[in-house]
Symmetry: C2
Subunit: 444 residues, 2 copies
């Protein structure tokens, strides 16, 4: 007993902040290490973010793409999960301060706290155009999307009805593209028979991208294919103009004013503020610039991985904030901790890009995998297969498979529920006070 | 065209308030009637309330037991669904006033707006002991239940830890019994391996019933069997004493003080306030006293069904607020409207009691069906079968079946997510202000 206890005392403590792809992978990679792992997250669940848009579009339920972190790590005896918010990290004293006042000393630290939606300094937009980063966001988008049709059904004035039936999605990356496609398909295929006074299939879904192309890093061929695919199902794609104003009842796009009640934000992310508080160099969106081995300059015991890290050492500059980068970095940071414990040299991180893919709607996708460009049905099947395989635990795979099968065969996804809030019937209350104190139309 | 239009104008309007069991059944029963049906609900979904406790206990997701009312009525061309809150009913002028100011004139009215949790005038208890009436309630209970284990895991003080691991359920009707059984099973079977510092299987679940028996209207034999069944899995059952105080950290039960952080309310319901505003006689819990044909005295065109109705004409006094009563009354009210349209005499409502059943935990239930008393596994299978059959649409049946099969085989229900609110880590904040202005401990 005493021996075990003293052996346990001697084990170094690894604190991991964040139970997303990077943090969870690091914890699992250390499962045989003689360390004590404390994984801290403010949510009780790991979230499979690549499918979050399907919760927003009411195809999947939260439980299909999220699993309790405790459950995932239940058999890993060297890991403890702590549900708490991290307030600050003291790199010098080597401890993590929690919002409830407690302090966790560490021997090794892995920061994997991720990113958040960023509005380029126009914080008043956050209320008008919710982003899609967590389950709450997804349920809020679902609520606004479904409520808009309810409002339109009850609206007598044709102009106002048109506003309710117009959806603007800002940002032409994978999230924006997949959201636009799935929402348009819902309006086109799932909802029409349910409404008596409106034609849901005529709802406008406008995808706005400030740059010259959507899915820019997929390569130009696929980018054009994606535009064609979206336009074929009726999504309007607008390229090359930034949104300059978001108001209660319209967005401004260059000279054009698009009347709309529902704006969704997939345009920008920034690292969580934790990174900027470390006192080490960060890039312009708050990501911590790491060494080749993913540690912090001057702090070989502290690592940063995933969306919170800026890794400028490989070809092509900082890596994109996607799950594969986080997973591979989590593995690498864990391996470098193990190497240090074993007195072996560390490895430099190298990203193995396995490709990119995005769905465009029912049976349609674009994919760039292993040097191969796929479009249409083959790309969609590849997307389906890979995402099912990536889902973290077996049971989610089974249920998601059946949900998808169901939705595909019936065009009737199951989760079309408006739950929570008093916004049920009024997703955006006209004239409501902006809690930030700014007006809906920010200064230019 | 003109003919159709004028024919349509001549069709009487039936306004149905509430898309629960009673209202929805009435709407469907009128599917071939030459009427225009307006179904008003403030939620977009019909909720299968008998399984709501399984959303609270994280076995099912909201989408498993709720379906959009529009979706259910999509093929019924004479029905329109209106998502709105009803503010008042003017029986004299024959119109329903909505909270947004609109007014719906009717020729026939069916009020099926249901019930809400009632705290016997101690409204301050509502915040401390949430009831279980809708999806928001269920998710709140789930949040508190799961968060309590998180708090216990992090608590150093053994006394406070004990408080977090004690759950008091007030009310020994079917809801309280099923909630107690399922929460105890979760603590006993699903959670133990996930926590490192607490023994979740030692969590206390206390079921408190002020009367002399739980499941009182099942008959005394089954009531005792239910107590035995619950005690076998470790639920403590306390009979014959009312709760006299609910505080942040304890409940008072006669002389006994039970320290606890989590109190759940299944003790009392009252009709929604709409009934009391009609200007017709109501009973002591606000239910509208109806005529034998379910209409209102002096208003043969207005019907009240389900939990909002008090039906004193049969044997055994007012009927219980359960789904079969609401369904049968919805059918009866629709038939009486049809009879009036056809100039036939109306029928008086007669309740056909098909029995009662409640689960006690994994593979255990009590049931009184067709004069037969069942217990244990046979009762549980009967419960399973009947509830699957009752689920409103086919797809929910399929998915619920698989969720149950999964949970049964693995003891790992899928929906253990803490979502929403800032209460994540602190479900009941000590010292928080009671929004009602009352203290946690109400005057006796």
């Amino acid at each position: 007993m005493t021996e075990t206890a003293s052996a346990r005392v001697a084990e170094p403590t690894v604190v991991i902040v964040g139970g997303g792809f990077g943090g969870l992978k690091a914890a699992r990679a250390l499962r045989r290490a003689r360390v004590k792992i404390l994984l801290v997250d403010r949510q009780n669940h790991h979230l499979f973010q690549p499918l979050l848009y399907q919760v927003a579009s009411a195809t999947l339920s939260p439980a299909d793409i999220a699993a309790p972190i405790r459950h995932i790590l239940r058999s890993q005896r060297n890991a403890q999960v702590i549900l708490a918010e991290v307030a600050a990290v003291d790199l010098g004293a080597r401890h993590v301060g929690l919002a409830d006042g407690r302090s966790l000393p560490y021997d090794f630290l892995i920061l994997a706290a991720g990113s958040r939606s960023s509005y380029f300094g126009r914080d008043g937009w956050a209320r008008l155009a919710p982003g899609l980063k967590n389950l709450e966001d997804a349920l809020e988008i679902r609520r606004r999307f479904l409520s808009a049709f309810e409002q339109a059904e009850q609206e007598e004035d044709p102009e106002r009805r048109r506003e309710w039936l117009t959806f603007v999605i800002v940002g032409g990356g994978p999230t924006g593209v997949e959201l636009a496609g799935t929402l348009k398909e819902m309006a086109r295929l799932s909802l029409p028979r349910e409404f008596r006074r409106i034609r849901t299939d005529r709802a406008r879904v406008v995808l706005v991208e400030a740059g010259p192309a959507i899915l820019a890093n997929f390569g130009s061929g696929l980018s054009e294919k994606a535009v064609q695919g979206l336009e074929r199902i009726g999504v309007e794609v607008r390229l090359g103009l930034p949104i300059t104003a978001i108001e209660e009842r319209a967005v401004q796009l260059g000279e054009e004013r698009i009347p709309t009640r529902t704006v969704l934000w997939a345009a920008g992310v920034a690292a969580v503020p934790l990174g900027a508080g470390l006192g080490v160099p960060v890039d312009r969106i708050g990501r911590v610039i790491v060494e080749p081995d993913l540690s912090l300059p001057g702090h070989p015991e502290a690592f940063v991985v995933g969306d919170l890290a800026a890794f400028p050492h490989g070809p092509g500059g900082p890596l994109p904030g996607v799950a594969p980068v986080a997973i591979q970095q989590g593995t690498c940071a864990a391996a470098n901790i193990q190497a240090t414990l074993d007195d072996r040299p560390r490895q430099a991180f190298r990203y193995r890009d396995k490709g990119s893919m995005a769905t465009l709607g029912r049976g349609k996708a674009v994919a760039h995998v292993g040097g191969l460009s796929l479009t249409g049905y083959p790309a969609w099947l590849a997307w389906l297969f890979i995402h099912l395989m990536l889902l973290v635990d077996f049971r989610s795979r089974v249920f998601v498979f059946f949900e998808w099968l169901w939705a595909y065969l019936t065009t009737q996804p199951r989760a079309r529920l408006i739950v929570g809030g008093h916004e049920r019937a009024q997703p955006v209350e006209p004239g409501a006070q902006d809690p930030t104190g700014r007006s809906g139309s920010p200064p230019r």
